[in-house]
């Protein structure tokens, strides 16, 4: 097992899947010769040619539309949408087209299509390059949404997304692109619909997603020194939500904190809290508590951004709250 950076894990996933299946092809702004704005597609055009690794104009909506048509004829396109905020430009193609195509055609269409995009965390990218908008997508039947929290997940989930016969949106995190962690040398694929327990604990469950998994782990580490034992779950998938894994954890802890970098209002955590409130209320000894961004755009200036986007201290405070009798 070797340590690999997150962006390298993404690159390997793409490369391996392109190697494995000639139907896999890449589309996006700068994904060709430049190797992607963040280097995720580096070397791939050289290796697979300009037909399969295709630079596109800044026409995000049409490019996702193109991927829909191509997927219908059996290609497995992977589109890179450079920043998650730009998903706003492709919402019709995602929501009215990709998500509904199979249903609307009565099962005639099959859409093996991946949209890779990324958001960031406290890096002063400013209001139009830093929002976490996964909740928009999770509201739509027909789409799957995953948010890899590290190199291992980035590779395994992306490979699974490419092999899946449905539209899958993979939300990477650029702040983690440089992070190196162990990634198996041998081939592996992670299930798209399954959460993972990243740290076992007894007192409180922290269900987190994307980069907030790292903050949750840091919070758990800090709390452990005070004798508070947290179980940290990486939800991995924003839709569908793996309620079972969280529920099993709650059977042990009876207390739940949910953490994501998206705004709390209407976020994935709201759905998780509501679903568990309906189905597992009897397991709970304290109100479910959510940690998420304040309801504002993401500001540029570092102190302002820190005021809006939470970190481990907010998670620690939330854990303390659910433990307060």
């Amino acid at each position: 097992m070797a340590e690999k950076r997150y962006v390298r894990a993404v690159n390997e996933a793409l490369c391996e899947e392109m190697e494995r299946d000639p139907a896999v092809c890449l589309l996006g702004v700068d994904v060709g010769a430049p190797g992607g704005p963040f280097g995720a597609t580096r070397g791939l055009q050289e290796r697979f040619g300009p037909q399969r690794v295709r630079d596109t104009p800044i026409s995000e909506a049409a490019v996702v539309g193109l991927a829909i048509g191509a997927a219908t004829l059996g290609l497995r396109p992977v589109v890179e949408v450079m920043f998650m905020d730009f998903l706003a430009l492709v919402m019709d193609q995602l929501v009215n087209q990709a998500a509904k195509m199979r249903y609307m055609t009565g099962g005639q269409a099959r859409l093996p299509l991946v949209v890779r995009t990324q958001t960031g965390y406290r890096d002063s990218a400013g209001p139009q390059h830093a929002q976490s908008l996964e909740a928009w997508l999770t509201h739509v039947p027909g789409l799957k949404v995953v948010m890899p929290s590290g190199p291992y997940e980035a590779k395994g989930l992306l490979k699974a997304a490419i092999r899946d016969d449905n539209p899958v949106i993979v939300v990477e995190n650029r702040t983690l692109y440089g992070l190196a962690e162990e990634v198996p040398d041998e081939e592996y694929v992670l299930p798209l619909e399954r959460a993972a327990v990243k740290r076992e604990g007894q007192d409180v469950t922290i269900a987190s997603i994307g980069i907030m998994v790292r903050e949750a782990l840091a919070a758990a580490e800090a709390l452990a020194t005070r004798g508070i034992s947290c179980e940290v779950i990486d939800l991995r998938s924003a839709n569908p939500l793996d309620l079972q894994t969280v529920r099993t954890s709650l059977e042990k802890t009876s207390r739940l904190v949910i953490a994501h970098s998206a705004t709390r209002c209407g976020g994935v955590g709201a759905e998780l809290a509501a679903a568990l409130g309906e189905e597992a209320f009897y397991l709970l000894d304290a109100p479910i508590t959510r940690v998420g961004a304040a309801f504002a755009p993401i500001p540029f200036s570092p102190p302002l951004e820190r005021a809006i986007v939470p970190d481990r201290t907010a998670i620690i405070a939330a854990v303390e709250r659910v433990l307060t009798p």
Partner: protein
Amino acid sequence: MPAEQLDGEVARHLLATMLIIRAFEEAVRDHFAAKHIPGFIHLSIGQEAVAAGLASALERDDYLYVTHRGHGHVIAKGADLKRVAAEIFGKAAGYCRGRGGSMHIAAFEVGVLGANGVVGAGLPHAAGAAWALQLQGRQQVAVAVFGDGAVNTGIFHETANIAALWRLPLLLLCENNGYAEFTPLSVHAAVESVTERAAAYRLPAWRVDGQDPLAVRAAVCEALKRVRAGEGPALVECLTWRLRGHYEGDPQRYRSPSELQEAAAHDPLRLFAERLRREALLSESEEAALAAQAREAVAEAIAYAQEAAFPDPASALEDVLYQPSEAG
């Protein structure tokens, strides 16, 4: 069109197709008025020559994406009338198992890959299909049908640019009926000629009388010769007339009586039948026989649709996602 190209057999086939579309849509009109059909309906009555001319120039395995006004193209492409009707009636035997309805009839078995209710949104799908064909080294073409209104969407321009840039085997076929819903071309387009707008992307373009199926067919054939030869996309603009409202029930207050009269004077079925008779390519009895055949086929399809079962509510959650255990 030079006389020697007036092939009687082709002409009669075109007329037959137009007669079926017309008979079908008149039946849909009546059953919708009688509330046998849920939802809302956009008819292509008056525009049949475009669908017939286009489809006659396509191969069965060419791919087609159509619009909210798509019954005619789907029928002309060879779809089973019964399953088209069943879809419009919301029945399980419909092409889309009743999930799509009038606006969304896809018939993959004859290459109709989608019909879109979002104006312009199907254009990149056709380009994507064309891209797949190019990548897979296949010989077919993809066609996107769209209206004059769709030309004002951003995605039309995004698609035209990419298709031209990548030399995709794509035909853009515009049905310019002079209206986007209730808004005439003069109010919705800075440049009234779609062909002129195609020039911005250096798309070879043809502007033809969309009431004449032979003119449509000839332009599409010529355009496709280039497309099939790998010379990239082309555009055909068909000038046509919508004889009915935007949707069934549209009182059309925005059209003057004289304009409606003018529209009626452009009925492509009458014009084409008259012409074939003038050219001695069609006798009165032949025309009557074709019309009777069309009515019969339509009556059979409508009866089938009316008798067909509604989908089982228990199936409502099927096909939201593809499940690997499924066979197809």
